[in-house]
C-alpha cells in the first residue's frame, strides 16, 4: 500500500514569460517516502515544487490520491500540501508560537490565540519535533538563522499535510542543524508523509532520501534510488563533477569530488 503512487504528475510543464522552465515531468511518488530533488542552479527545482503545490499555473496534470489538483479549492490544496519556501521570511516580529500556529491556518484555525485542542496538539508536536519549544514566546526576528529555520520547519510540520514540500531547508545552516533538519524530515516520512526536499547537498540527499529526482534544464533526467539516480554519468553530465562513493552505517555516501 505504501508503495502505490500518492502524488502523480503527467507531462507537467511550466512556462514563465514565454520560456519553458519545466518540461514534460511525469513522476509517481508514494507515501512514506523522502524524495530529494536535485539539480544545478536554474534547473527548475523550485518551479517543480511550486507547481506541485499549485502555487503557479502549469500545463499537464498533478493528482493527489487520485484527485486532480486543479479540481481542489485553494484551502483543500493547502491541507494536502505543506510548503516551505526558501528564506524563511517573517515580516513582523511575531512570537514563535504564533508563527508555528499559522500552520493550522488551512484547517480553519486562523487565530493563534484561539486554537482548538486538536490544533494546539498539532502545534505542540511540531514544536517538539523541531526543538523550538523553549523559545515559543520569543520574537522570531531575534532568533539566529538556524533557530529561525527550525521555526519555519515547525510551521510547515504543523500543517500535518500528507505531502510536505521543502525548498532548500538546509541552506545556510551549520552541519549539525543540516543533519537535524534532515532527521526531522526523515521522521515525518517514516510517519507516513510524502516529503519532497530540494537540496544542493548531494551527500545529504544520498544519505537520507529514499529516492532522488535529478532535474537538468527543466527536464527530469534521472529518478531512482540515490546510488542509481546519482550515477557517475549523471554526476558528470548534469553536475560536471566526479564523485567519491562509499557506504557508512548502511547509508550511501556520495561526495562531489572534482570538476570534470
Amino acid at each position: 500500500m505504501s508503495e502505490s503512487p500518492f502524488v502523480r504528475t503527467e507531462h507537467l510543464g511550466v512556462s514563465l514569460s514565454g520560456r519553458a522552465v519545466l518540461r514534460d515531468v511525469t513522476i509517481e511518488l508514494p507515501r512514506r517516502h523522502l524524495v530529494a530533488l536535485v539539480g544545478p542552479n536554474g534547473a527548475g527545482k523550485t518551479t517543480l515544487l511550486r507547481a506541485l503545490a499549485g502555487l503557479i499555473p502549469s500545463q499537464g496534470s498533478v493528482t493527489i490520491d487520485g484527485v486532480a489538483l486543479s479540481a481542489l479549492p485553494l484551502r483543500e490544496r493547502a491541507k494536502r500540501f505543506g510548503y516551505l519556501p526558501q528564506g524563511h521570511l517573517v515580516h513582523w516580529p511575531l512570537p514563535v508560537r504564533d508563527v508555528v500556529a499559522l500552520g493550522r491556518y488551512p484547517h480553519g484555525a486562523t487565530d493563534p490565540a484561539r486554537l482548538s485542542p486538536h490544533d494546539e496538539a498539532a502545534v505542540a508536536r511540531a514544536m517538539a519535533a523541531t526543538d523550538v519549544v523553549q523559545f515559543g514566546d520569543r520574537s522570531v526576528t531575534e532568533l539566529s538563522g538556524g533557530e529561525r529555520s527550525r521555526v519555519a520547519l515547525a510551521r510547515v510540520l504543523a500543517v500535518e499535510a500528507p505531502v510536505l514540500l521543502a525548498d532548500e531547508p538546509t541552506a545556510s545552516l551549520d552541519p549539525r542543524y543540516q543533519i537535524d533538519v534532515m532527521r526531522t524530515l526523515r521522521a515525518a516520512a517514516d510517519a507516513g508523509t510524502l516529503v519532497v526536499v530540494v537540496t544542493h547537498d548531494l551527500g545529504l540527499a544520498a544519505r537520507f532520501a529514499d529516492s532522488v529526482l535529478v532535474l537538468s534544464d527543466g527536464q527530469l533526467v534521472a529518478h531512482g534510488a540515490p546510488e542509481v539516480a546519482l550515477s557517475d554519468r549523471i554526476m558528470a553530465e548534469v553536475f560536471r563533477v566526479s564523485a567519491y562513493r562509499a557506504a557508512h552505517q548502511d547509508s550511501a555516501v556520495i561526495l562531489p569530488w572534482a570538476g570534470v
Binding site: L74, F81, H91, L94
Partner: protein
C-alpha cells in the same frame, strides 16, 4: 524578551481605547461656541434638556462627531490594513496618494457643479479615484515591492493627483468655486450635516467591513505571499479586496471631509507597543486610535485661539509629518538597503 502582550492586556487596551473614544465623542459634542457640560450633552443626546441644547447637540454637533469618529476610524483601519497587506510599517493611505486622488475626484465634481449635497457624485468620484490610485500604486510597484519602490510610486501618484487638482482649480472659471475648493482641500469637519453623514457613512461602513473580513489573511501574509498562498490565502483576491476596502472607506470619507493626512500612518504605530505586531490584531485598535486622534484634533481646532479657523486636516498633517520623519529616521537602516 516576550514580544506579544497577552490576550488580557490586549482586551484591556482595546477597552481603554473604546472608553477614550467615547469620552472624546462627548467632549466633541460639548465644545463649541456654546460650551455644554458632559451631563447636559448626554441628556440632550437622548432627548432630554432644553430645545436649544437638543438642537446644538443633535443637529449641529452630532454629525461632526459622527464623521470624526467614522473617518478617523476608517483612516486608522486602512493604514493598518495597508501595512498588513504590504508587510511594511511605512504604508498608509495618504503616503500612497489615495486621499489626494479621492480629493481630485471630489474637486472635479465641485468644479463641474455636480456636487450637490444630496447627490452621490462626490463620494462616487472620490471612491473611484481612490481605487484608481491604489490600483496604480500596486501595478507600478509590482508584487513584491520594497519600501523604496512603494514610496517612490506613492509620491508620484500623490503628486500627480495634486497636479490634477491644481489643473482643475486653474481651469475653473468661477473664482468663488476655486476658493471653496482650496478651503475644502485643507480638510475639515465644520458645518457638516446629517446629509453628509448619510453620504459618507455607507461607504465607510462597507469599506470597514471589507477590510475586517480579511483580517486573518493579513496574519498569514506575515510569512510572505508565497507561504500565505500555500496556506490557502488567495493573495490576488485579497489585494483586490483591500484596495476596494481602502478606496471605499477613504474615498467616501474624503468626499465629505477633504484630505486628512497621516492618521492612517500614525495609528498602527501607536498601537504596536501595546498590542504587538500581529497585523490582524492591530486592525480594531488602530481604527479606535484613528477615531480618537481625529476627534481630538477636531476638538483642538475649536480650542486653539486663532483669528481664523484652523482646518483639522492641516493640524493632523502638522503633527503627522514630524512623526513620519521620526519613523524614517528610525527605519533608516532598512531604507538604506531597501532597494532590493
Amino acid at each position: 524578551m516576550v514580544v506579544a502582550p497577552g490576550p488580557a492586556r490586549r482586551a484591556m487596551v482595546t477597552a481603554g481605547l473604546a472608553v477614550l473614544v467615547g469620552l472624546l465623542a462627548i467632549g466633541s459634542l460639548a465644545i463649541g461656541p456654546v460650551k455644554l457640560s458632559p451631563l447636559v450633552v448626554i441628556e440632550a443626546l437622548f432627548g432630554g434638556g432644553g430645545d436649544v441644547q437638543q438642537v446644538i447637540v443633535q443637529e449641529i454637533r452630532l454629525p461632526r462627531t459622527i464623521l470624526a469618529l467614522a473617518i478617523g476610524g476608517i483612516l486608522g483601519l486602512s493604514g493598518a490594513a495597508l501595512q498588513g497587506l504590504l508587510r511594511n510599517p511605512l504604508a498608509s493611505p495618504s503616503l500612497f496618494g489615495a486621499p489626494q486622488s479621492a480629493a481630485f475626484g471630489a474637486v472635479l465634481m465641485i468644479a463641474l457643479g455636480w456636487a450637490d449635497v444630496r447627490s452621490y457624485a462626490l463620494p462616487v468620484a472620490g471612491i473611484t479615484m481612490a481605487f484608481v490610485s491604489v490600483f496604480a500604486l500596486l501595478a507600478v510597484a509590482g508584487r513584491n515591492a520594497g519600501l523604496l519602490l512603494l514610496i517612490l510610486a506613492g509620491l508620484a501618484i500623490s503628486s500627480f493627483a495634486g497636479a490634477a487638482t491644481a489643473l482643475v482649480m486653474n481651469l475653473s472659471l468661477n473664482p468663488f468655486a476655486t476658493l471653496e475648493i482650496a478651503f475644502w482641500l485643507l480638510g475639515s469637519l465644520e458645518d457638516r450635516s446629517f446629509r453628509h453623514v448619510m453620504l459618507a457613512l455607507p461607504f465607510i461602513v462597507a469599506g470597514a467591513l471589507l477590510l475586517m473580513s480579511q483580517r486573518s489573511a493579513f496574519r498569514a501574509l506575515s510569512l510572505g505571499e508565497e507561504t500565505a498562498q500555500s496556506l490557502g490565502v488567495d493573495v490576488g483576491r485579497l489585494r483586490l479586496l483591500v484596495i476596494a476596502g481602502v478606496a471605499l472607506g477613504v474615498g467616501g470619507g474624503v468626499a465629505v471631509s477633504g484630505t486628512i493626512g497621516f492618521i492612517g500612518l500614525v495609528a498602527p504605530h501607536l498601537m504596536r507597543p501595546l498590542i504587538g505586531h500581529d497585523p490582524a490584531r492591530l486592525l480594531v485598535p488602530s481604527a479606535l486610535t484613528g477615531a480618537a486622534l481625529l476627534l481630538a484634533a477636531d476638538i483642538a481646532v475649536r480650542l486653539i485661539p486663532s483669528t481664523s479657523d484652523i482646518k483639522v486636516g492641516v493640524l493632523t498633517s502638522i503633527i503627522g509629518v514630524p512623526f513620519f520623519l521620526y519613523l524614517i529616521v528610525r527605519e533608516r537602516r532598512a531604507l538604506g538597503g531597501g532597494v532590493a
